[in-house]
């Protein structure tokens, strides 16, 4: 085993290797970093992935498009709704279906709720990575409210599967708008608490400022997307650049920071939470009346061809690529997962920082491992 590792990582006499993961509290899943250390300083890092590879892309080749939706939940489980939507949008694009306005609005609202819930969970686990354990419970306390809205809407709390090609599974609950408005009112008061406990803390600033600086060039060449890239000044928000669903109806800012260190990645996500609430406020009262789904045939067969659709998940750009041979199953299905690309930069970001920084950096990239492995 040790020979195998030493052939993988080029080490000299002063260095030693430790495995961070696959079972480790801060890899947020079964990710394994083989880290070469000199004392406490990280010399090189190699991510080993595939511990929960389930072959989702291959499984998709034997499933109808309605069934595929349920698999995509299991990729990035924290933005399940966004994953569902990506597939639906791609299928709808291929079929040339225009979904009702109502569906677009509801999808966008749920997108933003998903983003909020995901960022809350990111925030609390990031706080825990830094050692501030109380953050975890603050984040989960507020995330619970969003999960309750999900539960009321479609019965599920985490893996929604609420979308279906052509629209939604069923209509929203009558309480939907009321509960969202209550939540926004509540969360606008609670979000400053997040700043009070973590953002303003001097230890937190010392731990994150100038740590793991991601340059704009690297962000572009490694294909980094999402808040991670926007913290480096890379304007890549799919919601703004290629608006889908009802994002063109909402007025919101694309959060751009320039420095690209851990603290700016943190700030970018914190600000995104405010922006998400702004989007929600604009859309929640204007959900138009209408059908919750377009008229669809029970068996969906995509015309022969290649289709691609991208959406902005909580971690970056999620792409769905379908190759169809005109059958009810896709010929090939490929997901472009934001986490996979974001993980690739880890070695570059962490070299010559300490172990504690490695944890902070990997926390600030907000990795969800099932999405990497698929």
């Amino acid at each position: 085993m040790s020979e195998e590792i030493s052939s993988v990582v080029d080490i000299d006499q002063q260095e030693y290797i430790i495995n961070i993961g696959p079972q480790h509290p801060s890899t947020h899943g079964v990710l394994r970093f083989v880290v070469s250390l000199q004392g406490e300083v990280v010399k090189s890092l190699q991510p080993h992935i595939g511990y929960i590879h389930r072959g989702i892309e291959k499984m998709c080749e034997n499933l109808t498009y309605q069934q595929i939706i349920h698999l995509t939940d299991r990729m990035d489980y924290l933005s399940a709704h966004t994953n569902n939507e990506a597939v639906c949008l791609c299928v709808e694009k291929a079929l040339g279906i225009e979904v009702p306005e109502r569906v677009k609005y509801i999808r966008t609202i749920l997108d933003e709720l998903t983003r909020l819930a995901s960022h809350q969970l990111w925030w609390c686990s990031f706080g825990m990575d830094l050692g501030g354990q109380t953050c975890y419970f603050y984040g989960l306390r507020d995330r619970e409210k969003i999960l309750d809205i999900f539960e009321e809407t479609c019965g599920a709390r985490l893996l929604l599967s609420y979308n279906t090609p052509g629209g939604l599974m069923w209509d929203i609950h009558p309480n939907f708008q009321k509960r969202i408005k209550e939540f926004i009112k509540y969360f606008r008061k609670k979000l400053p608490e997040y700043d009070a406990i973590l953002t303003g803390n001097v230890i937190m600033h010392q731990r994150t400022e100038d740590i793991g600086i991601l340059s704009l060039e690297d962000a572009i060449s490694y294909g980094i997307t999402g808040p991670t890239a926007r913290a480096s000044g890379f304007s890549c928000d799919v919601r703004k650049r290629y608006p889908y669903s009802a994002y063109d109806k909402a007025d919101f800012k694309e959060i751009i920071y320039t420095k690209g260190d851990t603290f700016h990645r943190y700030q970018a996500r914190m600000d995104e939470m405010w922006e998400s609430m702004k989007i929600l406020e604009q859309l929640v009262d204007n959900i138009p009346e209408g059908d919750f789904t377009a008229k669809m045939k029970p068996v969906i067969k995509l015309p022969e061809g290649e289709y691609y659709q991208r959406v902005e998940s909580a971690r970056g750009e999620l792409g769905v690529f379908i190759v169809s041979k005109g059958e009810k199953y896709p010929y090939r299905m490929k997901f472009r997962s934001p986490n996979f690309c974001n993980l690739a930069i880890m070695n570059k970001l962490t070299s010559n920082f300490k172990i504690a920084d490695l944890i902070a950096i990997s926390g600030s990239l907000d990795l969800v491992i099932p999405d990497i492995d698929r």
Partner: protein, 365 residues
């Protein structure tokens, strides 16, 4: 043999009675032996009770800070939850690491525990309840309490685990550094007290606690002592040695069952010891709160037994330390050392001079 009268405000008559009656019944050697056994058993009981209670208290305090309820099922308000946990730990398998240094691996938790005991011996719990009253009590406590790191280093080394090793090395660097600050802040107070004997230090605060007597330098010393003391107990935000999110559990990663429980307990007892030293040196130990000139107020304060005063003060400080832990994120190792060597130590050195000046000029209360 004199009559025994139990006075809760002055337990020295009680301890004196025990001493005299033992010597009158046995030969001096056996009387000494019996005293040692009595003190040892009492300490052991106190240690276990305080340890269990602190674990429970921490869980409740952190639950309170984290919008949770905390343990509430076993016993009233979950009060005997920690007893249940202890029983569980006692019954758990001791996992033997094949390539570890077995002798040192088993020795390490005992070193940590023994050091705790030795420190507790010198703490004045109440008037007359004080196992050993050295004339260099403060020096003794400083010397002994820092020996706990040997246990931590041995644990890290013998586990044959890199995470443990990193944790142990961090702990070593941390305690060697922060020992200075703890020492200097206590020396500052010794300058004011004019003695290193803990009983004298407590007696000297009968009019007014030292934190008020020594005003500015005493408050600075107290804050530094709290910071450095927290660092010395390896608790958050200085819990680098066990840094859960970085090193899984640091130096006690490989320990299981009761040997893990020893480390866990030792951490809490360490916190208790640091808090009781702070309470003794700065807040007057078991001495009630007195304001000179207000006889009525002082009488009311005297009405509260000394042991209650001591426990109360200690727990206030423990609560502050828990408050730190559950609020702040963890420091990085280089920031930890920077804090000590660049900030606390110079401030401390200036503070000693300031205190010496104040004592010389008689500017204290």
């Amino acid at each position: 043999m004199q009559d025994f009268k139990f006075n809760i405000y002055d337990l020295s008559s009680f301890t004196h009675w025990v001493d005299v009656s033992l010597y009158s019944y046995c030969t001096p050697f056996w009387a000494m032996m019996w005293e040692m056994i009595i003190i040892g058993v009492a300490m052991l009981l106190f240690y276990a009770v305080i340890g269990l209670f602190l674990v429970y208290a921490e869980r409740k305090v952190c639950a309170f800070m984290q919008n949770r309820i905390g343990p509430n099922r076993v016993g009233p308000y979950g009060f005997i939850q920690t007893v249940a946990d202890l029983v569980k730990l006692l019954m758990k398998e001791l996992v033997i690491i094949r390539k570890s240094d077995k002798f040192l691996f088993y020795l390490a938790p005992f070193i940590v525990i023994i050091v705790n005991f030795m420190t507790m011996a010198a703490i004045p719990f109440a008037k007359g309840i004080h196992a050993i009253d050295f004339n260099i009590g403060v020096l003794y406590i400083m010397a002994i309490s820092s020996m706990g790191v040997i246990g931590v280093l041995i644990a890290g080394w013998s586990s044959n685990n890199k995470f443990s090793m990193i944790g142990a090395m961090r702990s070593g660097a941390q305690i060697v550094s922060y020992e200075l600050s703890v020492g200097f802040s206590l020396i500052t107070m010794c300058v004011l007290a004019g003695s290193m004997q803990l009983s004298t230090i407590v007696e000297g605060q009968s009019e007014c606690w030292y934190i008020f007597q020594g005003h500015i330098p005493a408050i600075i010393a107290f804050v530094i002592f709290l910071i450095a003391g927290t660092a010395e107990t390896n608790r958050g935000p200085f819990d680098l040695a066990e840094a859960e999110s970085e090193l899984t559990a640091g130096y006690h990663t490989e320990y299981s069952g009761i040997s893990f429980a020893f480390f866990y307990l030792a951490e809490y007892i360490n916190m208790f010891i640091i808090a009781s030293i702070a309470a003794t040196v700065f807040w007057g130990g078991w001495m009630p709160f007195h304001i000179s000139g207000l006889a009525g107020f002082n009488n009311i304060m005297d009405f509260i037994p000394p042991f209650i005063w001591y426990i109360g003060k200690t727990f206030v400080i423990i609560w502050i330390m828990m408050w730190f832990k559950w609020t702040f994120p963890r420091l990085r190792i280089d920031q930890l050392l920077t804090l000590e060597w660049k900030y606390l130590l110079p401030i401390n050195l200036v503070n000693i001079i300031l205190m010496a000046l104040i004592v010389l000029m008689g500017w204290h209360f």
